[in-house]
């Protein structure tokens, strides 16, 4: 099957789709390889959860060098799993999965998504609708536009507090 959208997904990873919903400045910086996640406690925590849980699963299934899926379950229906620390960014994470599912759909693989919250003992099933798939095409276009443009100026919001980019965005506004 041929990809419906004219935009090559080659440079869009799942994280970028999630960042699109979290913050456009973060999306831009991350996409330009200005990464701050290395020093983030939350990211470290996420990494530990990723490594320590679901050990029986074959993890990090890489598809076409574009995306790395946490793990996949094959049964009557294929399940694409993503492991998350908290539900705070649930909407963003849902779209991240929709993007994976869309990509697989284009390749002729029908699947559903599962968001796993091992710390909360919760799961969330993601079944994308036709509308979701239409939206994700638009989102991919938007991501492409944002990333190829100038850096979006940071806007301070509540979630900046926990963001590893906060010092980058707001570290320079001290009054002389």
């Amino acid at each position: 099957m041929i990809l419906q959208t004219t935009i090559k997904p080659m440079t869009i990873t799942g994280v970028k789709v999630a960042y699109y919903f979290i913050c456009h400045t973060k999306l831009w910086l991350f996409s330009h390889n200005i990464q701050m996640e290395r020093e983030s406690e939350d990211v470290l925590m996420g990494k530990l959860i990723h490594e320590s849980r679901y050990r029986r699963m074959k993890k990090d299934v890489v598809i076409d060098n574009v995306m790395s899926i946490d793990f996949v379950k094959k049964g009557d229906i294929i399940e694409v799993h993503d492991i998350k620390k908290s539900r705070k960014m649930e909407e963003a994470h849902r779209w991240q999965l929709i993007y994976y599912l869309y990509y697989l759909y284009q390749k002729g693989v029908k699947a559903i998504g599962v968001l796993n919250y091992p710390l909360l003992n919760k799961k969330e099933i993601v079944k994308p609708t036709d509308d979701d798939f239409k939206n994700i095409e638009q989102i991919m276009k938007d991501i492409f536009t944002i990333v190829s443009g100038k850096m979006s100026p940071p806007i301070k919001r509540r979630l900046c507090r926990r963001c590893s980019y906060v010092e980058f965005c707001f570290g320079g506004v001290e009054t002389p």
Binding site: H32, M151, P153, V166, E167, G171, E174
Partner: protein, 329 residues
Amino acid sequence: MKTNYYLTKDGVLRRKENTVYFINKEEKRALPISKIYAIYAYGNLSFTSGVASYLSQKGVPIHFFNNYGFYEGSLYPRETLISGDVTIHQAEHHLDADKRLYLARRFIEGATQNILKNLKYYCSSNSSIEKYIGRIEKELPKIEGYTDIPQLMSVEGHIRDTYYSALDEIFPEEFRIGERVKRPPNNKTNTLISFGNSLMYSTVLTEIYNTQLNPTISYLHEPFVRRFSLSLDVAEIFKPIIVDRVIFKLVNKKMLDDSHFVGELGDMLLSDTGRKLFLQNYHDRLSTTIKHKGLGREVSYQRLIRLELYKLVKHVLGAQEYKPLVMWW
């Protein structure tokens, strides 16, 4: 929290399993890898390739200094934070004469404003400083007037000379700088300044390593000559804030005596205990925190260096114009 390790004694670094040990005749000390931010080596340090690759892998730089406390070089780990975009724009700001001038001026401006802050701090107790402040303030507008780098450098030199003359009014006689002499430093305060500046240079370099900036592309100093010259640029801003304040403290609180120096006038260096005292106070200064208005929380002086570099990244990317850090406290 990661911290800096200062090794002032001779010894060997060895990796055993996944721990790095510092070993000499007297001790065997474990350096927990996840705690090391950077290593400053003042003694003769031998290490195995195992240590070198392990520290590189963990992104820990080692800075080497000679007997005089002069910077000799660094084991600079493989770059892991690379952004082609940042590098290209960093170079663009060097190659475009106007853009380079803008940044070169900002570094001198920042350094000068911080020098003035230091002098004004003293002015309340010693009014003889006022005339020096006036002189430096007169030099400031020249920064905007001059359009080539060597001229700018000479303004900076002037300002610094005036600054040191002002300090000579305050310092007790044995700590007068007279003339700034570097290699080797010829008196006590010149020794302290040289020692501190080398240290500052490597501290800034460590921070640069932790950003996407390329340490060889600089603006005020000429790049590619011997050193990671961006570090020299940014260090200008922080020398008055960190190094000079450490020296003021050591001198004014009479913490230094003859046992802290070896050699004679004309060829002076810090003794073992002198180095330790300086490093301890430097480290304390780096860890001191102040309330940052933009972030709304306490930030250490060391972290301010990183924030300064982030501001540079934003500047070269065209996101926000760079204004140097001036002490607001």
